[in-house]
């Protein structure tokens, strides 16, 4: 409009009011932007994972369970984990699970650093034994969870899943991703360092 002329007083306050209204809008958009950026950054470093389902188990003692033997290992129960003096990695696996087979090599390397106890999840004992014969056996002890009920108490939603158990039987770390991923191995290494003090 007539911009050269000094605008009337009424028009001036309307412009000011519009500008003031824009402040909360811009502020809100800014907050959303920062939050979103933080989320994305967290996903990159692994500190934020929207797909992480069972966060509740970490920081809790191991649930009550008893697992029968799975050849070629011996089964274990809650008491075995509660009387630990060194950290142990619990790994749920199955012979029908391709990511578990992909993970085996990493587990075989890892067992030199800390004992790994395996749980055969909803697997036929002969099939699980066949896998370990074929791919190598990284497990110090192996239990069989045929009906998958022990896994539910651990909050397992799929195999492979791994849990780091501190001495005394506390679950201190968890991953629903395979240990063949370097990020997951790094995260485990940090958790292990924290436990070992």
């Amino acid at each position: 409009m007539s911009s050269e002329q000094t605008p009337p007083d009424g028009q001036n306050t309307v412009t000011r009011r519009r500008l003031l209204l824009g402040v909360p809008l811009l502020g809100g958009a800014g907050i959303c932007g920062v939050a979103f950026w933080k989320m994305l950054a967290g996903m990159q470093t692994g500190s934020f994972n929207p797909h992480d389902i069972n966060a509740p188990v970490t920081g809790r003692p191991v649930p009550d369970f008893t697992l029968p033997d799975q050849t070629p290992g011996t089964g274990f129960a809650t008491a075995d984990l509660k009387t630990l003096t060194k950290p142990v990695l619990i790994n749920f696996f199955a012979s029908w699970c391709i990511p578990c087979i992909a993970e085996m090599e990493a587990l075989l390397a890892l067992q030199k650093q800390l004992p790994i106890w395996g749980v055969a999840y909803k697997d036929k004992p002969e099939n699980a034994a066949g896998l370990l014969k074929h791919a190598g056996n990284p497990y110090a002890r192996i239990g069989s969870d045929r009906d998958g009920r022990v896994a539910i108490d651990w909050g397992v939603s799929g195999v492979p899943e791994s849990f780091l158990i501190a001495p005394g039987g506390m679950i201190v770390w968890h991953s629903a991703a395979g240990l063949d991923s370097p990020e997951v191995r790094d995260s485990l290494k940090n958790a292990l360092k924290a436990v070992s003090g």
Partner: protein, 161 residues
């Protein structure tokens, strides 16, 4: 082929095919195996209602009642065991949340993290009302009286006729 199925036969075949197609999703919704169902229909209804609120963790946007994944079947079984023991819906859901976190609930509880999610309808309504009021107000404000220069210009334009 065409010559073989004509008239009534073709109609019957088409009808049968349609019936199969229509019943396929219905079969997928139901519990996989009728032997899973509880003998007491009231308890079975309660179990179904609980299962409909629990997320299948394998196929994440289905409820365990809808899914035919192995874990969903196992969780359905667990729900029915708890219901058969006489537990109420809240107890069963709490049992699940203790193991899988709030993620297993298809309808998340109100927490700080979900406040914006739950508050959004009210927030959107407020924003709508505020903008409506503002637009309405702007329309009804009477324009400032014409200045002397504008009045002169108006007269000038009127003279053109």
């Amino acid at each position: 082929m065409r010559a073989l199925f004509r008239g009534k036969t073709a109609f019957r075949l088409k009808a049968a095919l349609l019936l199969v197609c229509l019943s396929a999703p219905v079969m997928a919704w139901a519990v996989d195996d009728p032997s899973e169902m509880l003998p007491d229909p009231k308890q079975e209804r309660q179990a179904e209602a609980i299962g409909a609120q629990l997320r299948c963790l394998v196929c994440q946007n289905e409820s365990i009642e809808d899914s035919s994944a192995g874990l969903a079947r196992d969780l359905r079984k667990v729900v029915r065991e708890h219901v058969a023991k006489g537990e109420n819906s809240q107890q069963v859901i709490d049992w699940m949340v203790a193991r899988y976190g709030n993620f297993i609930r298809l309808s998340p509880p109100v927490t700080i993290a979900t406040l914006l999610l739950w508050g959004m309808p009210v927030l959107a309504l407020l924003i709508g009302i505020v903008s409506a009021v503002m637009i309405f107000r702007r329309r009804t404000t009477t324009p400032a009286p014409l200045s002397a220069a504008e009045q002169a210009r108006l007269r000038e334009l009127g003279d053109d006729r």
